[in-house]
C-alpha cells in the first residue's frame, strides 16, 4: 500500500467515525456485520448493552433459559446458515455457563462471536460480585479472545472478532466488555477500516501440490475420498465441487460424523459414515485403499481406530485449512493447506485441463470388492413386532420426512446420535448438526432452537435420548416463547445407552449409575411447558404418531419408548483396527487391555 492510499483510507475512516457509547457501538457493529439474530441472557454487567438493544430494529434477541443453551442455539444457527452465531451474556456465571458451548464450537470449528459483560475496569481483580477471569477461563476454549479495557479499542476488536471467527478455520471468539466501557463514549469505526496486524489465514492452495494430487488420483487403483466437517464449513460450493470430482473420477466417498451431507447419501458412490460406528464397507475401504484423499477431516480417534493399523498400505493426501492438523495423528504423503473450496476448484480444473483418466479396470475391481463388503449389510438389525427398535424408529422418521428438502436434524450425544448418523440420510450440507468433537449431551435441543430461528418454516428435529435431553430441557420454554415448532424426538430406552453398552462390553455388565431412574413423564412435561406431548410404545402406532408430530405446528416432545437393551452396531471396539469390526453381539468383542484404557 503506498502512502496516498494510506492517507485516503485514514480519511475515509475518520469520516465514518461517529461518537457513541460502548453499548451503542456493540449494536452498531453487529448491524454492520449483518447480524440479524442474537442469543442471550441479561445480567448486571451487560445491562447497558441490553438497554441499547431495547430500541433497536433489525436485530432479534432470543432469550434463552441458560447460557449454555444460548451458545448451542448460536451453533445450530451458524451450522444451518453458514453465518456466525452471536451470543450475549453477562459476567461471572453468564460467562462460565457459556464455556461448554465455547469448547463444543472450538472442537467442531463453528464460527461464534460471544460477547460477555465484565465488572467495571476499576473492580477487575477485586473479587467483585459476578466477577470471573473470563478471558483466562475462555482462552483455551476459544480461537481468540479479548478483554476490552478502552472504549477506543472496542469497535476495532468487535470487527476483528467477526473476521477471526469466520475466516481460516472457523471457531468461537469471546469479547469481554467491562460495564464502564459500555457506558463510555468513543468514536466508532466501521468494519472497512479494520486490518489485523498478524492474522493471515492461508486459504490458497499451492498449485504444485494440486498437480501432484490429481496425478496420484489418476494413478490410484483403490482410492477413497474421506471427507469431513471442513467441507461443510467451507460453504456449499465445496460440496458441489466434491460431487463434480466424484462425477469425474467415480471414486467412493465416506465421511466423518461432521461431514455428513457434503455428499448425497442417495448416490451410488456413497459408502456411509466411517469410524467406530461406521459401515463395514466404509471402514474396509479405508483399511484397504491405496490412495486416501482426506478432505477437511482430521483423523480423529473415533475415525481411525487403532492408529498403528490405520490404512497401512495407502498414500495419503490431506487437505486442511489448519496446518497444525497435518501429520498430527497420521503421517501423510501430500499435505495441502488451503480452503477446501479453493483447493477442490483447482483439483477439478487440473483434472479436466490435463485430461486425466482413472484406472478404470482397477477401479472396476475395487468396486466389485466394495460391493462384496456392502453385501454384509452392516446396518441391519433384528426388528420386532412388539417393541420399538430404535433403528426402526429412525428409519420411520426418515421415511416419513425424506420427501421434504427442508428437514434439519440435530442430535444429543450417545447411541441415538450414532443411529441417526447411520440411518438418517442427508443429501445436502448444513442440514445435520451434532456435537462431534466434544460430545456434548444437551447440545441438540438448543441447537434445534437456533436452527428453527434461522429457518422458521423448516422441519427441525432433535433426535434425542432421554438422558441427554434432560441436560438442556429448559430451552423448551424458549421454543414456546418464540413459536418455534421444533420436534424433540426422544429415543427413550431408560438408559444412558452408550454408557450402558460400554459397561456391557467392557465392564462385565455392571451397569453402574447408567439407568435413568426417576424419569419425568415427558408427555406431562410437554404439557407443563405448553407444548405438545406424544408417546409411542408399539411399532404399530409409530407412523401415525410421527405424522401427528410433523403436522402439529408447535413444539413437540415425542417420547418414543424403545428397546432398552439394544446396542449400537457395527462397532470398532476401542483399540482395534478398521478391519476388526463387530457386526453384532454374537461377534464376541474381546477388548484388549490397551483398548480398555481408551475412551
Amino acid at each position: 500500500m503506498d502512502k496516498d492510499d494510506t492517507l485516503t483510507k485514514a480519511a475515509q475512516a475518520a469520516e465514518s467515525a461517529q461518537t457513541m457509547t460502548g453499548a451503542q457501538m456493540v449494536i452498531r457493529a453487529l448491524k454492520d456485520q449483518g447480524v440479524t439474530h442474537i442469543f442471550g441472557y441479561p445480567g448486571g454487567a451487560v445491562l447497558p448493552i441490553y438497554d441499547a438493544l431495547f430500541k433497536v430494529e433489525g436485530i432479534t434477541h432470543v432469550l434463552v433459559r441458560h447460557e449454555q443453551g444460548a451458545v448451542h442455539a448460536a451453533e445450530g444457527y451458524a451450522r444451518s446458515t453458514g453465518k456466525p452465531g452471536v451470543v450475549l451474556v453477562t459476567s461471572g456465571p453468564g460467562a462460565t455457563n457459556a464455556v461448554t458451548g465455547l469448547t463444543d464450537a472450538l472442537m467442531d470449528s463453528i464460527p461464534l462471536v460471544v460477547l460477555t459483560g465484565q465488572v467495571p475496569t476499576h473492580l477487575i481483580g477485586t473479587d467483585a460480585f459476578q466477577e470471573c477471569d473470563t478471558v483466562g477461563i475462555t482462552r483455551p476454549c476459544t480461537k481468540h479472545n479479548w478483554l476490552v479495557k478502552n472504549v477506543g479499542d472496542l469497535s476495532r476488536i468487535l470487527h476483528e472478532a467477526f473476521e477471526i471467527a469466520t475466516t481460516g478455520r472457523p471457531g468461537p471468539v469471546v469479547v469481554d466488555i467491562p460495564k464502564d466501557v459500555q457506558f463510555q463514549s468513543g468514536s466508532y469505526m466501521g468494519p472497512q477500516s479494520i486490518h489485523h496486524r498478524t492474522y493471515r489465514p492461508k486459504t490458497d492452495p499451492d498449485l504444485s501440490s494440486i498437480v501432484k494430487a490429481v496425478e496420484m488420483m489418476a494413478a490410484a487403483k483403490k482410492p477413497v475420498f474421506y471427507t469431513g466437517g471442513g467441507l461443510i464449513n467451507s460453504g456449499p460450493e465445496a460440496s458441489a465441487l466434491l460431487r463434480e470430482l466424484v462425477d469425474l473420477t467415480g471414486f467412493p466417498v465416506t465421511s466423518t460424523l461432521m461431514g455428513l451431507g457434503a455428499f448425497p447419501a442417495a448416490r451410488p458412490e456413497w459408502l456411509g459414515m466411517l469410524g467406530m460406528h461406521g459401515t463395514w464397507e466404509a471402514n474396509h475401504v479405508m483399511h484397504d485403499c491405496d490412495l486416501m484423499i482426506c478432505l477437511g477431516a482430521r483423523f480423529d480417534d473415533r475415525c481411525t481406530g487403532k492408529v498403528s493399523s490405520f490404512s497401512p498400505n495407502s498414500k495419503k493426501i490431506h487437505l486442511d485449512i489448519d496446518a497444525s492438523q497435518i501429520n498430527k495423528i497420521v503421517r501423510v504423503d501430500l499435505p495441502i493447506v488451503a480452503d477446501a473450496t479453493k483447493a477442490l476448484r483447482e483439483m477439478v480444473r487440473f483434472w479436466k485441463n490435463q485430461k486425466h483418466k482413472v484406472q478404470s479396470a482397477a477401479l472396476k475391481e475395487w468396486w466389485a470388492q466394495i460391493d462384496q463388503w456392502r453385501g454384509k449389510k452392516s446396518l441391519s438389525y433384528r426388528n420386532s413386532d412388539s417393541i420399538i427398535k430404535p433403528q426402526y424408529a429412525i428409519d420411520r422418521l426418515y421415511e416419513l420426512t425424506k420427501h421434504r428438502s427442508d428437514v434439519f436434524v440435530t442430535t444429543e450425544v450417545g447411541q441415538h446420535q450414532m443411529w441417526a448418523a447411520q440411518r438418517f440420510h442427508f443429501q445436502e450440507p448444513n442440514h445435520w448438526m451434532t456435537s462431534g468433537g466434544l460430545g456434548t449431551m444437551g447440545y441438540g435441543l438448543p441447537a434445534a432452537v437456533g436452527a428453527q430461528i434461522a429457518h422458521p418454516d423448516a422441519l427441525v428435529i432433535d433426535i434425542a435420548g432421554e438422558a441427554s435431553v434432560q441436560m438442556t430441557m429448559q430451552e423448551m420454554s424458549t421454543a414456546i416463547q418464540y413459536d418455534l415448532p421444533i420436534k424433540i424426538f426422544i429415543l427413550n430406552n431408560e438408559y444412558m445407552g452408550m454408557v450402558r453398552q460400554w459397561q456391557e462390553i467392557l465392564h462385565g455388565k455392571r451397569y453402574s449409575h447408567s439407568y435413568s431412574e426417576a424419569l419425568p413423564d415427558f408427555v406431562k412435561m410437554a404439557d407443563a411447558f405448553g407444548c405438545v406431548g406424544l408417546r409411542a410404545e408399539k411399532p404399530s402406532e409409530l407412523d401415525d404418531k410421527i405424522r401427528e408430530m410433523i403436522a402439529v405446528k408447535r413444539p413437540v416432545l415425542f417420547d418414543c419408548r424403545v428397546d432398552p437393551a439394544e446396542n449400537c452396531y457395527p462397532m470398532i471396539p476401542s483399540g482395534a483396527a478398521h478391519n476388526e469390526m463387530l457386526l453384532s453381539p454374537d461377534d464376541g468383542g474381546e477388548i484388549s487391555e490397551a483398548g480398555k484404557m481408551l475412551v
Binding site: T198, F310, R331
Partner: protein
Amino acid sequence: MHDTKVKQSAENERHTLTVLVDNEAGVLARVVGLFSGRGYNIESLTVAEVDPMARTSRITIVTSGTMHVIEQIETQLRRLVPTHGVTNWTSAKAGIEREMALIKVAGTGEKRVEALRMADAFRARPVDTTHASFVFEITGAPSKIDSFIELMRPLGLVDVSRTGVAAISRGPEAM
C-alpha cells in the same frame, strides 16, 4: 515403503524456538497455556518487548520432545492469532544461543580463592563482593553455565538465577 505412521517412539530432542508476538495483554499466557494444555515441555522461557514502536515481544523457548511433537509445537504456535512468526534454531536456521546467570558463592579461605580463579577462567565477572561471598555474572551457552555451576557447587554455591536462553540468527538477516 514410506512410513505412514507418525513416529511415536522417536527419541526426545531439545529445541530452541523463538516466537515473535504482538505485545498484547495475555499473549504470554496464550503461549504458556498452549504448552501446558497440550502437554508439551518448557525447559526455559524468556520474554521481553523488543520493539516498543511496533509493540512486538520476542519469546524464546527451550523445549524438548520427539521431532513429531516439535513440529506440532511449531504449527500450534503459528496458529495463535497474535503470532508474527516462529523460528526453530535447532533444526531450521543457524542461530546463536546465549544465557546469562547470576551465581552466588559463599565461603572464605582457599575455597574463596579457588572460586575466583575458576570464575576468571570462565570469564564470569564478580558483580557483588563481600568478605564472605561473591555474586558472579556469567554469559554463554547453557552448557557452559551448567559446567560453571557444577564447579562452584563444592566451593560454596548458595544461589543461582538464570535468565533462560536468548537466541538470534547468524548473518545479516532478521529472524
